[in-house]
Symmetry: C2
Amino acid sequence: MSGENCLAGLKILDLTQFEAGPSCTEALAWMGADVVKVENPRVGDPGRVSGGKAPHDALYFLQYNANKRSMAINLKDPRGLELVKELAKNADVMIENFAPGAIERLGLGYDVIKAINPAIIFCQVKGFGTGSPYEKNLAFDMIAQACGGLMSVTGEEDGPPCKPGATIGDTGTGMLMAVSILGAYVRRLRTGQGEHLQVAMQDAILHYIRNAFAYMERTDGKAAPRAGSKTVGGGNPPIGVYPCKGGGPNDYVYIYTSAANSEHWTRLLKVMGREDLIGDARFANPAARTEHREEVDRIVSEWTIQHDKHTAMELVGSATIPAGAVLDTRELADDPTFLQRGIRQTMKHPEAGDYVMSGWPVRFGGRPPEVTPAPLLGEHGAEVLAEWLGYDAGKIADLKSNEVVV
Amino acid sequence: MSGENCLAGLKILDLTQFEAGPSCTEALAWMGADVVKVENPRVGDPGRVSGGKAPHDALYFLQYNANKRSMAINLKDPRGLELVKELAKNADVMIENFAPGAIERLGLGYDVIKAINPAIIFCQVKGFGTGSPYEKNLAFDMIAQACGGLMSVTGEEDGPPCKPGATIGDTGTGMLMAVSILGAYVRRLRTGQGEHLQVAMQDAILHYIRNAFAYMERTDGKAAPRAGSKTVGGGNPPIGVYPCKGGGPNDYVYIYTSAANSEHWTRLLKVMGREDLIGDARFANPAARTEHREEVDRIVSEWTIQHDKHTAMELVGSATIPAGAVLDTRELADDPTFLQRGIRQTMKHPEAGDYVMSGWPVRFGGRPPEVTPAPLLGEHGAEVLAEWLGYDAGKIADLKSNEVVV
């Protein structure tokens, strides 16, 4: 009852790079798909050298390409292009996230591949959608976050737009494509039908900020504003991060009191030893607390600052008021339960040595799928030629000596 | 070649509420799954009244429950619980996101359901994972974002932790569960095997901030810091949002110059008419520009402030330097191409009237799946009893007159 064999037999020809595409195919690899990454023989996926050249593949690359195989094919050689077509003929899925128009210029566009393999699920990730005013523009994660509205609703109320520390433009998009690929694959198993899937990173961002759109529509139609650590529109006070003992950049506790649950505020007053304020008209209901938001925040802060964030989380949470310490990446990396539970796993890589990375967080029968290290550039070329195409040793040697496959 | 029939025949018994669960099942409904939402007869999914009681279901609810059917079942009546079991016997997937322990206390936990239907894919979304120090804690989106590390890497460099304007704890988690459900379903089609899927919102957050972890690991092991609008660690200057003409809260353009592409900086200097700085030692390479970051930002800002954000995006983008205007939700809602392309669609709801919502952004054969309005509370009770269980009119009337199904 584990997840690694769910997608056994699903062959994915993966021409993606960086993150939006690789995060998608990695998720499918974690569930057992056979993902063959096609890379250029010179440097491979540019993610391998992200953050500057190192003696080994960058951790950036390693964490988005686990559980895959790599094949280095020279696409400047016509025999390399022919080889990709042979692989596409044998694949269930082909996916790319090159710049707009690039795959078509290579002669590997959907029309070409569909003629070879009508049942293929052909997938494309771009920055902007066909028909968008920006359809020819390049995009990276941050550009998608800017143009997709997410930065406009992230940051302090009176500050500039902020970029969330999560790569929603990349991994967020990759997850939507992964869902779609499996949807199309389920139908293909039933009907044999192929599909052409396309997603734009700007469009994908909209999927993750629907609350901001809902807020705008139900108020005055003005753009949803930034709200610091509060929910869109400001939420019901008290809400947001409150400072805790220690004074470090992440010594804060999040406290959420719901407008729908009037008990939250009363219980919080008890936790804080401020029973004197129970029934006080200034704070008696959400509207009153919104009017006196600054005072509410001051009262709560005066209490939270006396406790470290873990204690504050414990005390508030025990009163069944939603609360959470703001944990940083160091604290999370040091929490042994993530390793024990398999949410983070230790890799043994032939060049990079040991490193810990986050795997697929969904548990199958109690356990996340097992993570295996990302491939070296071209590590599996011969193996894939034999398995997917049935090539014999002579034919493989010929491709290698001609540097079609490296 | 559209997406709506991909999952035809997949029956999902959906006991989820608010967003993490509903966003998951909605994605599957958009691809054709038959999602039957089981709600309590009194108010239904509390998301229906999110943002305060209104004469109709809240837009919050409407946008996370499109393309589903609703059935109102009284779970306080033993006959209601029996009915859920009957439905579970006929379902392929059952999913819940109640507070920890609640589904088991109802007598509808995995052990019970598995005994009835061993092939079921039983799915649970919680705030924290089993074995985590917080496993019994409640969580909402913002608590997961605090405890999952995302807030620690979002916000200004010297400011407090910020909450991204995207609901990564909710919709971000929902997408990971959707991928996993389809993975398990593909295996089930092949082998008949059921599965127990569990995901914690805190764990899911880690999946979206892997770059922050990679940055921490490849530097000094200290927690990844906040970086305003820049990428984790600060990136390669110039990077981030720069102020544009207009002075409004979102009059900014994002400019990204890559450390890997030295041409970006030179091209930008040309766009800005600052050829005089080409070759200037202070800015000649990424390290030099990082050292003179403030001056670099000043030079770029002096140019961007002379242009509105759209012009700045156009001018910088035309020089093939990644650039993007910071667009707000109003501007996005007013861009007609989202409606033309089906990324946003207009609903006709019997009570809420017409409204526009974002649908599934992935295009199948050029077009996103068609969105249909969320159901009224209990709208499809009789229909589902007939279709899923084959109940006749008399039996259905009996359940209704006894208020087991409302």
